[in-house]
């Protein structure tokens, strides 16, 4: 493939300027002060070949289908626990397990309508899943609008290369919401409001899907059904809520009582099957760090298939064999604390002193269930255009760590969006690609030829 990179790199500043004008930003709270930042766009795309993509697509569908079956099982029959595949303490002591969801059957049996699966490509060309995000994965709007603008700034690039269309994400969402809505009423996107970090995305997706953007207080429950009442005080039945409000704030009568973002009694309407919530409540139990280890086993258990996508090699000290391995190889592993509240976070064994290693060892011996350990993956770096601070005369390309968030949408069937969010780290020594840490993003081109 022969891509004229200069045409893209020359366009970087105008693309970023257009994004600024469109208000493509994310909000960050630092020391209690709300600030909005731009999410810097890098013009060099990540390119995924047709065959590579076919492999990823198949693997992603398989993984998300298994995760959806797992969620159904946890809140219904619990077969995977009874059959001893997943130990019960990994499920019931997970902060994401919500007993309030027991026995609730979401429309179509779908829990993770929108799944954001974070992957990295190793130097050996092998893809690894790092994390499943099944609650409210965000970020799809950035590559959508970046492509929209780049296409305008450099139309020739897209005319001369066989790049898969990415405008389809809005259709995937729309179709899924229609499936879930089942003709009960309108579909809405519920945003916490203007000061949410992803507010741009909420409004952008509402515009692109034709859903109504609803604010806290616009939705209410009456006679166990959900209604929308906007500025004209109209009363419109709601059939599907794509909510960008987290579980614990959704219903102040069931969860966090002080929540002003939620809809009183929405859990009852949901339980009665009178409204679909996208994503379902209680998904946190399946994207927990401890549960991640079991996802390939879920694929075999529920689908009877060999898992196509690999996890990063992971060890659970909870199991005797892994326990011995982890204690013997701590220097070369990444150790993650699974307990959510005030944990150790993520530490690289190689960065620890002897004393710190001993300290951590003692903690693992004391509570093996609390930890997971992973092999360090040697990421394949991606090229980015280096920023010289003045930004008008780029110095050239440098290599940086990057990951890929793939979006998988499940309504009546499970489909993978032919694009994704590629995030990179600006800092040459950092593996952290989080947008709030000053990283940026790239477009992801899936080739059709």
């Amino acid at each position: 493939m022969n891509i004229k990179l200069t045409e893209l790199t020359d366009s970087r500043d105008s693309v970023n300027k257009w994004m600024e004008r469109y208000g493509v930003r994310f909000g960050v709270y630092k020391n209690g002060v709300f600030n909005e930042q731009l999410f810097p766009f890098d013009p060099v795309p990540r390119i995924i070949g047709k065959e590579d993509w076919a492999y990823l697509e198949k693997g992603l569908r398989q993984r998300v289908m298994a995760l959806n079956k797992f969620l159904w099982d946890v809140y219904h029959e619990k077969k995977i626990i009874k059959d001893g595949i997943v130990p019960e303490e990994f499920v019931y002591s997970s902060k994401g397990y919500l007993p309030e969801c027991e026995g609730i059957s979401p429309t179509g049996g779908v829990y993770a309508h929108i799944a954001g699966i974070d992957l990295v490509e190793g130097k050996d060309g092998q893809w690894y899943v790092l994390e499943d995000n099944l609650r409210i994965p965000s970020g799809a709007s950035y590559p959508m609008i970046a492509r929209q603008i780049t296409r305008r700034v450099s139309p020739a690039t897209f005319a001369s290369h066989a790049i898969a269309e990415n405008r389809g994400y809005a259709d995937l969402l729309r179709d899924m919401m229609d499936d879930m809505n089942d003709g009960r009423g309108i579909s809405v996107i519920l945003t916490p409001g203007r000061y949410n970090s992803a507010y741009f995305e909420h409004s952008y997706l509402a515009e692109k899907t034709g859903a109504t953007l609803a604010y806290p207080g616009d939705l209410y429950v009456e006679d166990n059904k959900v209604y929308y009442s906007g500025i004209y005080k109209e009363r419109t039945r709601v059939g599907c809520i794509y909510r960008r409000v987290s579980d614990e704030y959704m219903d102040p009568l069931v969860f966090e009582a002080s929540s002003l973002l939620g809809i009183p009694n929405v859990m009852q309407a949901y339980k009665a099957g009178n409204v679909a919530l996208v994503n379902a409540i209680g998904n946190g139990v399946a994207d927990d760090k401890g549960i991640y280890y079991f996802v390939p086993k879920m694929v075999e258990y529920y689908l009877g298939e060999k898992p196509i996508l690999q996890n990063a090699p992971t060890y659970l000290p909870y199991f005797k064999e892994d326990y011995d391995y982890v204690l013997a190889n701590m220097q070369r592993l990444v150790i993650k604390d699974v307990s959510e509240a005030g944990g150790y976070g993520v530490v690289f064994g190689k960065d620890l002193t002897e004393e710190q290693l001993d300290e951590l060892k003692a903690l693992i011996i004391d509570q093996p269930r609390r930890w997971i350990a992973q092999e360090v993956i040697d990421f394949k770096d991606l090229e980015i255009l280096e920023d010289d601070g003045v930004s008008t005369s780029p110095k050239g390309l440098v290599e940086r760590k990057a990951d890929l968030r793939a979006f998988v949408v499940s309504g009546k069937d499970t489909r993978v969006w032919c694009s994704g969010l590629t995030r990179f780290s600006r800092n040459p020594n950092s593996f952290v690609v989080n947008s709030s840490q000053g990283g940026g993003f790239k477009d992801t081109w899936v080739m059709t030829e």
Partner: protein, 257 residues
């Protein structure tokens, strides 16, 4: 068998009109192996839409709301209930949930030390020991704690009301690996709602009232709901739009017939 007339009444007054008022009530006795509802009525004002349902723990709930502005919310739940000896056979509930520390029953080392029981004793004997221990350790003192006081704070202050006694006993049971759950309901006489504990002995749930140092073989207790701790099964929960200050008056009567 004993028969009781129960009358449970709540009046909430608001200092100014409120709207978009949503409520979730647990105000009706449950029908189970030891308790049968012969008659029941619930009335509420203003004219709320109210729907019956169940919560995550299988408790009966009434949920609903009123959108029009109002300054008083009142409801009465009344009826006749007959009771047998207190015991509930295991019916496939998720026992594991009641073995894990919950938000209001977190343990610390001092509590673990205080909760040690004779490991050779039967589960029933250990539960009885813990019930007695809590009773001995605590001083009944209203208004020293709130509905959100966790067991560890109760343990260090050694005083509180029935809810605090129950939380402490539950924490102690879980420290011993015994599944235990929080129960609220009515106690014979006139007063407010009461709280006690159920402990799983391998076959079923046995009741204990640490506030009175009693194993609940006998009647006089009418159960409404249970959960991992009190936060799972409050008798009422509400949410409204407005700046109003609310005052709540609750009265309960349980009278043997």
């Amino acid at each position: 068998m004993k028969r009781y007339l129960y009358n449970y009444q709540t009046i909430v007054t608001f200092s100014e009109p409120v709207s978009a008022h949503g409520v979730m009530l647990r105000c009706q006795p449950v029908t189970n192996a030891f308790q049968t509802i012969e008659q029941e009525h619930v009335v509420a004002s203003p004219d709320y839409w109210l729907t019956a349902g169940t919560d995550a723990f299988g408790n009966r709930i009434l949920f609903g709301g009123a959108n029009e502005p109002h300054t008083v919310f009142a409801y009465v739940s009344t009826g006749i209930v007959s009771t047998e000896m207190y015991f509930l056979k295991h019916r496939g509930e998720n026992i594991f949930l009641y073995r894990q520390p919950s938000q209001l029953t977190q343990l610390n080392d001092a509590m673990r030390d205080a909760a040690v029981t004779d490991a050779d004793a039967s589960i029933a004997e250990r539960a009885q020991q813990l019930c007695h221990k809590v009773y001995e350790m605590m001083k009944y003192a209203p208004e020293t704690t709130t509905v959100e006081t966790p067991a560890c704070e109760v343990f260090s202050r050694r005083c509180g009301v029935c809810q605090d006694y129950a939380h402490l006993m539950i924490a102690f049971c879980r420290a011993n690996g015994l599944p235990a759950r929080y129960v609220n309901g009515f106690l014979e006489g006139i007063g407010k709602t009461h709280a006690w504990v159920e402990v799983f002995d391998g076959y079923g749930w046995q009741g204990y009232d640490p506030t009175h140092d009693r194993e609940l073989l006998h009647q006089g207790y009418v159960k409404i709901a249970h959960g991992r701790d009190s936060a799972d099964c409050p008798v009422s929960r509400g949410m409204f739009r407005g700046q109003a200050i609310q005052q709540t008056q609750i009265s309960v009567t349980l009278q043997e017939l």
